[in-house]
């Protein structure tokens, strides 16, 4: 019997296939219910004009009760890098409350893509988080294992 996560992901996948992704978001790979890849691109005028990022989703069997592990894909040798953004670390980890404490099952993969897209779109200054080097040095492989502290309510 398929787990809850597989059932729900199958539904989400079907929706994506029938209704398509929002503008600027494209499904790259969804061969299984563990890892999905999307490309996202900020449409219109923004600091990221012309850049296409790869977003990686990893699901565990408790999805959607537990949040997906979402990060930008980084493959230095293939020239795939994380976007430069004050909330995105150079290893691709993203500090976004909806991926952590504010995750809710009402959200979906597409909703997360859209939210992250708008996070990039609203960026005023391209720079890394101030503690990037320190974080990347010790960061766990899975961004869900990081206890991000969201204290910037002004974003």
């Amino acid at each position: 019997m398929a787990s809850i996560s597989a059932k729900r992901l199958a539904k989400e996948l079907k929706e994506i296939q029938t209704e398509g992704c929002p503008v600027g978001v494209n499904l790259l790979r969804a061969d299984d219910f563990q890892t999905w890849l999307f490309s996202i691109e900020v449409m219109g005028e923004s600091l990221y004009k012309g850049e296409v990022q790869t977003l990686q989703f990893r699901f565990d069997s408790n999805y959607p009760i537990s949040s997906p592990a979402v990060q930008f894909l980084v493959r230095e040798n293939e020239g795939i890098r994380a976007p430069i953004h004050p909330h995105v670390y150079s290893n691709g980890h993203i500090c976004a409350s909806i991926l952590g404490t504010e995750w809710s099952p009402v959200l979906s993969v597409v909703a997360v893509c859209v939210t992250l897209q708008s996070m990039l779109a609203s960026c005023k200054k391209k720079e890394r988080p101030v503690d990037n080097d320190r974080y990347v040095l010790h960061a766990p492989e899975n961004p869900k294992k990081t206890q991000f502290h969201y204290d910037d309510d002004t974003v």
Partner: protein, 520 residues
Amino acid sequence: MPEPPNRVPTIDDLRVKLCYICREEEGPEQDQPAGPPKQWIHPCRCTLVAHETCLLQWIQSAERDASRAPNALKCPQCSSQYQMQSKNPFVLRLMKKLNGTGLWMGRWFLLGSAAGIIVVVGSGFFVMMTAYGAWAVRQFIGNEMFDLLLTDDPANWSWPVLLNLPAIPLSLILSRFSNTHNFMPLFPILLIWPSAVPPGVISQGRWSNSINIFPKNTTTTTQSNSLLSISNYAWPPTPFVFGMFVVPFVRSMYRRWFKKFEAAILGSDAERQRQEGGDNGAQAEGDVLEIHIRANIEVGDGGQGHQNGGQGQDQGQEGEQQAPRPQQHQRPNAAAGGGNNNANNNNDQGGGRRNINLTSLGRTIGGALLIPAISNIMGNLLYRLSARVPFLKTFLGVRPPLASIYNMKKKKGVWTGLPPWFGAPTISSDFEKMGFAGQLGSTLKAVMITLWGGTRTWAEADPVWWRNSVGFGLFILARDCADLWYRWLAKRELNSRHLKSHDFQGIEIQELDLKPSFFS
């Protein structure tokens, strides 16, 4: 379009129900999902509906995480509060509170002991540990035995004592981290002195030697009244027998029995794991606070890794979903890795696992160091109780303090002097005449008999250590039962949860996809 009737639609009037958690749909066109029908609820003021089981699962997992707990009972879309009913008796809420307090105390204990360690390092680790050890022994064996065996003056302590005393706090603490828990800590205490010459006896000058292990006549060793005849003092068991045999036996029996009892009360392990399983595998309760503490510590060291971004415009937002605003920034905690490790949690059976985190560390160490005091208090309770219950008095082998026996005899005029064994010379001239081999053999024999039978001092004195051990055992039993009761209540609370379902008051009927039957 038909005129809407004069009533508020409810969840039963929806043509298609879509669980916002598992995304399963139920309606006339959908295949009925296999399995028993699921309860649907509309717990809030917006259009979201869900399976009750899905929602309860979500709430449970959110409650487990301190940072998400405040929002566990809130609708993610309209933020209205879910109303949950469950069997949540006062006792359970009190226990939860106490549990929280315990965690809190653990934290403060740790801070306190961190400060203490600085003092200890400054003033001498050894002295501090020894002082604790002496206190623990006094608590455990009672004042009388303590004065008799050790005395308050450290100058009287022999070198094994000086080695053993500081080891007590260490062994108490270590015992909490290994699987051999609870009773083991008493073991070192019991084994310290069964054969040691009590300095107190000598220093008091009343008795030249209380044990006189060396018989006057080596050929009549077995008859020597200087060694204890087991039949006279068979109860309570000697500390050695008790520590070596009784404790391990009772402990293993108790564990086996309690595990069965636990399984009977809480259901199978599988069931328990299902209960505990939540977000990404289970998180034990302690972990919640762990995360919290770490967060606090991080706050203290004050990195300010955040920038202002602009307000995100929800560009492509479609449909009914209002994704929360793009997030905020943060300071990552490099030390993280706290909550979600599936692998570890699978081992969480049978209470063998101890989370090594700051809070529970404090609680564990604090608890370990309190063992002597707990034993003492429980022993005292038993002693008082034994005054009224003759059986208990026999069982505990309560005797009047040594001093009072002698005083009483004196008053009655029966007392003519010290008992013969007290007056015996320490080392007889016969013994000195023996060769080395003879001395060694005789000594070994004496030591063995002493270990087995205990010394007269132990046997004659009021066995405070015995009732303290029994008391501590009862304490463990009571604690385990309370713990089990707590878990049973908590489980019942989870299983009895129900969310209140509301009608669609305040929502435009046009927004709802209602069954045609609603309008007729």
